[in-house]
Amino acid sequence: MKAKALGVFAVLIVLVGGILFYRQATGPQLPAGTAGENNGAVPSGSTSNNADALPPAGSDLQAEASIVSSDLISAAANESATFSVDEENFLLDDAGDLDAMSQAITVE
C-alpha cells in the first residue's frame, strides 16, 4: 500500500515536472495584443484588438505636414539671417583720400 502511494506520488511529480518543463520550453501562450509582454513584437493579428493605441486615420499626413511646415519656416528664418550682414563697408574706402586731401595743403 505504501509502495503504491509512493508510486502515485512519483507519477504526479513526473507529470507536474513535465508540464512545467513544457511550459518553459514553449513560452506562455499570450493573448493577442499583449505586445509589451513579448519583447515588443506585436503578434500577428493583434492590431485589430488594440485600436486605441493606433494613430487615427490621416495622422501620418498630419505629422508630415508639421515636419514640412517647420522645415519651411526654419529655412525662411535662415534666409533672413543672411541679410543681417553689414555688407558695404568699402563704400567709405575713400576716407583716407579725403584725409590726404586736407593734408596736402601746407605752407612751410
Binding site: 490621416g58 499626413l61 529655412a75 541679410f83
Partner: protein, 254 residues
C-alpha cells in the same frame, strides 16, 4: 636748391620732411624773405598736389562703384542659388507629403496646402526683394549725396586755396613784407583746411544713414518672414483640420 626752397614754401607733407633735414631752422628767415620772389613759381606746386589728390580720389570713387556693383551681383547670384536649392528641397517635401495622402479628401487638402505655401513664398520673396531694392536705392542715394558733398568740399577747398594764393601774390605785388604775406597765407590755408575738415564731418554722416537703411531692411525682412510663418502655420492647420485633427487651429495664432 631753388626747387627745394620753392617746394618748401608750399610744402605737401612729404616735401616738408625732405627739406626739414637739409634746410634746418637757420634757413627759415631766408626762406621767408624769398617768399614773394618765389610765389609765382611755388603756387602751381601746391595746386598740382591738390589736383593729384583729387585724381586719386576720383580713381577710388570708380573702384568703389565697381566693387559695389560686383558685390550686389554676387549677393544676387548667391540668393538665386539659395532660392533654387530651397525650391528643389520644397518639391521633395511636398512629394513626401503627397505620398502620405491616401484618400481624395487628403489629396485635395495637400494640394490646398501646397498652393497656400507657394503663395506665401511668392509674397515673402517679393517683400524681401522690395526691402533689398529699397536698401540699395537708399545706399545709392546716400552715396550720391556723399559724392556731391565731397565734390563741393573739394571745389570750395581749391577756390579757397586759389584765393589765398592770389591774395598773397597781390600783397607781394603791392610791396608787403614777405614774412607777413607768408604768415597770412599760412593762416588762410589753415582756414581753408579747417573748412574742408568740417565739411568732411558732414560727409561722414553717410555711415549713419546706411546703418538706418540696413535696420529698415532688417525689420522689413523680419516682418516678411513672420508673415510667412503665420501663413504656413495656417495652411498646416487647415490641412490637419481637413484630415480630421480638431486641435489644429490652436497652434497658428501664436
Amino acid at each position: 636748391m631753388s626747387a627745394v626752397l620753392l617746394m618748401s614754401m608750399f610744402a605737401p607733407g612729404a616735401v616738408i620732411a625732405q627739406t626739414g633735414s637739409t634746410a634746418g631752422t637757420s634757413t627759415r628767415p631766408a626762406r621767408a624773405a624769398l617768399f614773394c620772389q618765389r610765389i609765382d613759381q611755388a603756387s602751381p606746386i601746391l595746386l598740382n598736389t591738390l589736383q593729384q589728390r583729387e585724381q586719386r580720389l576720383s580713381a577710388r570713387k570708380e573702384t568703389i562703384t565697381e566693387r559695389l556693383q560686383n558685390h550686389r551681383e554676387e549677393r544676387d547670384e548667391a540668393r538665386d542659388e539659395r532660392t533654387t536649392r530651397q525650391g528643389e528641397r520644397r518639391e521633395a517635401l511636398f512629394d513626401r507629403l503627397s505620398e502620405k495622402a491616401q484618400t481624395d479628401e487628403e489629396k485635395a487638402a495637400v494640394r490646398t496646402f501646397v498652393e497656400a505655401v507657394e503663395t506665401a513664398i511668392t509674397k515673402r520673396n517679393a517683400a524681401i526683394q522690395s526691402a533689398v531694392d529699397a536698401f540699395r536705392a537708399g545706399v545709392d542715394a546716400a552715396l550720391k549725396v556723399r559724392r556731391e558733398k565731397i565734390a563741393s568740399a573739394i571745389t570750395t577747398l581749391k577756390a579757397d586755396v586759389n584765393a589765398a594764393i592770389e591774395k598773397a601774390r597781390t600783397s607781394c605785388r603791392n610791396g608787403a613784407n614777405s614774412e607777413t604775406v607768408r604768415t597770412q597765407l599760412q593762416t588762410d590755408i589753415n582756414a581753408a583746411r579747417t573748412k574742408f575738415q568740417n565739411a568732411r564731418k558732414e560727409i561722414d554722416k553717410m555711415t549713419e544713414s546706411r546703418r538706418a537703411l540696413a535696420e529698415t531692411r532688417k525689420k522689413a525682412i523680419q516682418d516678411a518672414v513672420e508673415t510667412f510663418r503665420r501663413e504656413v502655420e495656417a495652411a498646416r492647420d487647415a490641412l490637419k483640420a481637413a484630415v480630421g485633427d480638431d486641435t489644429a487651429t490652436t497652434t497658428s495664432s501664436t
